[in-house]
Amino acid sequence: MTSVSSASPGLSGIRDVKNRLFGPLPDVAEEAGYEPDHPKRVGFFTDTSVCIGCKACEVACKEWNTLPMDDSHGKRDALGLSGMSYDNTGQLGANSWRHVAFIEQSRAVDLPMPTFGRPGDDRHDHGPSPATAGDDVSLANAQQSVLNAEALSEFDPQTGQTGADKQIRWLMSSDVCKHCTHAGCLDVCPTGALFRTEFGTVVVQGDICNGCGYCVAACPYGVIDQRKDDGRVFKCTMCYDRLTDGLMPACATACPTQSIQFGDLDELQERADARLATLKAQGVETARLYGRDENDGVGGDGAFFLLLDEPEVYGLPPDPIVTTRDLPAMWKAAGKAAVMMVGVAVTAVLGSRRR
């Protein structure tokens, strides 16, 4: 891809970019007009297999972005127990930019939990121990399939049967705006309030948004929402302001287990692939990545996940597609329909007897 200097304005300055609406896009920031020396695209890799559901991400996010308190239905300044396990946040919305989902499951067969990952690279220069070097034994242990105690001890107190077949699993996952490669919210925004930053993230500009609400309907993940009393829409900015100061987003900074990892997207993708391979090797068949594939319906997510169950279990769409993929077809239909209208009108008039 050739870059054109800003000194040559006009249509000649428009870069020849493929897949502007759909499909993989190697450099989202450049597509959005940034010079090639823009920062690398950053993102989140949320590894739910090490999430302890502490909600530090939710609080750190609200704290940094001074978001209002709300209940599990997004109602501002309201409180109430949701009855959904330990989730009283309920959903992502204008007031909650991180949402930790809690899923309680019990089932009748072996269901291994994964071994803890080693996210983050700080351990390389920190925390070496007398025990680590060349520890083949522990590695071998780590790769044993791990039985959940429930498998051994569960029984039904009503019937007295020893139920070695029932297991409990408690999944936790911190959801966030996906910062899609092809972001429906950004595409449909008529004011340019939503824009692609130099970091490749998608951010709402509060001084521009006029609350038309189009983005709310356009997000295939149900992330962005309007704050009723304010009128404008809000969502995760991946702490755009912090990024400009060289800091990590607040959620990733706080996360105690590094379930939320922030970094250059390509590096995160590598890390996630390795993590998935590790888990698979440990027999965690249910592990999978979500939003990591650049060929998916949104061109891959800037914030992607390692899940232990199907996406919809976590409240995520199983096959999200950016709505704008179909826009050319829609414009075509609208154009044809408009022409049709003129045709009908002309026919109607010409076909009518003049008085």
């Binding site: 502007r20 530090a56 609080v59 704290e63 755009y240 706080a254």
Partner: protein, 186 residues
């Protein structure tokens, strides 16, 4: 004219590298002037989280003598910069809307709080300490010398600093008060 036109994103769309108006062309004045409040802080003070006993390091950002941000201190070998939800919320300890920052006084059999000057309150408390000490004084108990007072008791939380605990124990002991307890019992 050029500047004026340049401030219109459509013009930037038509002339720049962002024809679809989804990125560079759409940037607003607000966005161009975004600055992290960590960058504008007057100072950063090192502290320790007051909740559980892990003792996570905290960085406290201060601007215009107000706390603008509290976050984990990555230098801490114990916490490595991470914080739990409570630690992440600890700025609200300072800024909580329901925090009470003036002395309140309820007189015996009173039905509501009254305001009280801090110095007056200190003097009143001193009076009452001396009186309670006198009332509960025991020179001996069970025939043994105890030189203490049973009229005063204290219960401290475990968010007290070591220095505070030390002064408390020192003062209470000098007063002869022994029923001095702490959350640590719980």
């Amino acid at each position: 004219m050029k500047t004026w036109l340049d401030s219109w994103p459509v013009y930037r769309q038509l002339t720049g590298s962002d024809p679809l108006g989804r990125g560079k062309a759409a940037r607003s004045k607000g966005t161009e002037s975004v600055v992290s409040r960590t960058a504008t802080a007057d100072r950063v003070v090192k502290s320790v989280c007051p909740y559980c006993a892990v003792g996570c390091g905290q960085k406290v950002y201060v601007q215009d003598e107000k706390i603008t941000q509290i976050e984990g201190d990555p230098d801490s070998p114990i916490s490595r910069g991470r914080l739990c939800p409570k630690g992440s919320a600890s700025k609200q300890l300072v800024t909580s809307p329901t925090r009470v920052t003036t002395v309140k006084y309820r007189r015996p059999f009173g039905t509501d709080w009254e305001d009280l000057d801090l110095d007056t309150a200190m003097e009143m408390i001193a009076d009452r300490v001396l009186e309670a000490r006198r009332k509960g004084w025991q020179e001996e108990d069970g025939g043994k010398r105890v030189n203490r007072t049973m009229g005063l008791a204290s219960l401290g939380g475990a968010t007290l600093d070591n220095e505070e605990n030390y002064l408390m124990k020192k003062l209470y002991s000098a007063l002869g008060a022994v029923q001095i307890e702490n959350q640590a019992r719980i």
